[in-house]
Amino acid sequence: MELIQNLGLGFATAFSVANLAYCLIGVFLGTAIGVLPGLGPVATIAMLLPVTFGLSPETALIMLAGIFYGAQYGGSTTAILVNLPGESSSVVTAIDGYQMARQGHAGKALATAAIGSFIAGTVATVVIALIAPALAEVALAFGPREYFSLMVLGLVASVVLASGSLLHAVGMIVLGLLLGLIGTDVNSGVMRYTFGRDEMADGISFVVVAMGMFGIGEILSNLESEASRSILARKVEGLMPTRADLRRIMAPVARGTGIGSLLGILPGGGAMLASFAAYALEKKVSRTPERFGHGAIEGVAGPESANNAAAQTSFIPMLTLGIPSNPTMALMIGAMIMQGIQPGPGVISDQPALFWGLIVSMWIGNVMLLVLNLPLIGLWVRMIGIPYHFLYPCIIFFCVIGVFSINNATFDIWLMALFGVAGYILRKLDCEPAPLLLGFVLGPMLEEHLRRAMLISKGDPTGFLTSPISATLLALAVALLISILLPAIRSKREEAFQEED
């Protein structure tokens, strides 16, 4: 009955007035910014991260998690109402959700998304509570070799499961790893790639990289395709789904939750992959697949449940292994390090209040989303209506102030501008910045574990193969790499991502 005891601790932490309040603020702000088209969860979290610096670690992570699923939900609202997904995981929601809205069922689509997300979130929370402690137990036995191999597997998986060119994804990861090395080398005290600037002695803050690449860089890309948006429904009505609707969405919600929970745990997985997979599955099992693309309610229920479930379960590798499976989790890791917490299997045993409080607050956050968002839909609709040319100067302002407040240094603003230009140009060359951020966060850890592992094996690289766990992980990584080079699987992968365009 340890679980109940732990959950009790979680409830005690999450139900403190401050944590409830910050969870609410997080969910609210996350949704408010998430509904703005062109702003995904990564940019939202990066922008709001400096707000959490002064909070205690538990409160900060609870608020950030709230921002995360708030932004996720906000993105779906935008996808349904204006066919402009704010983030990649609601791309598929836009397909049928927008059609439903055009047929006058915007309310029903939004309610379906909310209910599906809530059920998925609840189930995923239970999954985390059950699996994470067990996984952390296993991970405690990991040495530097196992960690190194695990990170390699994680990076390889994130390449395979990402969309776009494989070669460039690998290139961006290596570039990110290199950028992560900037700063003082912990072993020798040598300053690497600092160009003699004291400001860079502690390395570049990942907030600077994230805001430059995802904040400024995205604005520059968005400005090229500036078009006026038309919102379908100024007034959203019929929010309450009928009993027949509920019966129709139950099975898709259950399937979506299952797929999402599973894919969220995988390294490199996460919300986007889950929503694509769920949509494909719904289309396959449906007796009337021709309705998909023309406003099928299952096409909203399945992917929306899946992306919320995956968003939650992607916390599992982050909390138990200290390894981010996607850029959002990379930001979470960064936030933990900034709060002075070493991510890894020790978090659950060293910071039980933080871990269990976070888990319980995830569920509370989902309840808040459900009761807050449907009544507030009028507000969200008005926020979507803000024209982009009013919006982006404000985003720039928040990025600049946010980056400044990390170290109170204007130097960081210069760096952010540099990453903004780099992000824009790299996007032009089809090099997506998401893998770069993963590499950037993992770089220092990867080097540290490599050094320790090689020290233990006295410079013999076969040490990675003689440890059974490490060998298995590396074998998986190689198998993944080979599998995507095979033409058959390669074309399947391209097929899976083609609906994005």
Partner: protein, 153 residues
């Protein structure tokens, strides 16, 4: 053959090779160490070498199967947006946020094709400045002067 030099693969490869080359040259100053006791320069050299290889592969691919061309890079919005943040960074201590924030906002907004100086836009700019003063400077205590040193702030 001419179009090869305009493809995304070609230029992305060049970027990788250039960065990898720069990184490996700088890393010459860091101790290499041995495989068992890696110095500060070991991992950077491995990564830079890898990045250059990836870059060469990308360039090779551009020649073997020329892909998409690079779309036009819009210089004007880039200069205005990036410039607005840089001007803020350079001037905020001197001018204070009361002037530097609207200056940045105006400059950034002018990058848009929809840019017009209208009453709602100016009201929005004033609100943003007030928001900055009240929330960030008074509320969160971000150490930026409201009035800069130019005005004795």
């Amino acid at each position: 053959m001419k179009s090869t030099y305009q493809t995304k693969d070609f230029w992305a490869g060049c970027v990788y090779v250039a960065i990898g080359l720069a990184a490996i040259l700088i890393a010459q100053d860091y101790k290499m160490g041995t495989a068992a006791r890696m110095g500060a320069g070991y991992f950077p050299r491995v990564l830079s070498g890898l990045l250059m290889l990836i870059g060469l592969a990308s360039i090779l691919r551009a020649f073997l199967q020329p892909g998409e061309r690079v779309e036009r890079i819009q210089l004007r919005p880039m200069l205005l947006i990036v410039g607005s943040t840089l001007i803020f960074a350079a001037s905020v201590r001197y001018l204070g946020t009361v002037i530097a924030v609207p200056l940045m906002g105006l400059l950034a907004a002018s990058a848009s094709r929809m840019f017009r100086i209208t009453v709602p836009a100016l009201v929005g700019l004033a609100l943003l400045t007030a928001f900055c003063t009240i929330v960030f400077q008074m509320g969160l205590g971000v150490p930026l002067p409201i009035l800069g040193s130019l005005f004795g702030g």
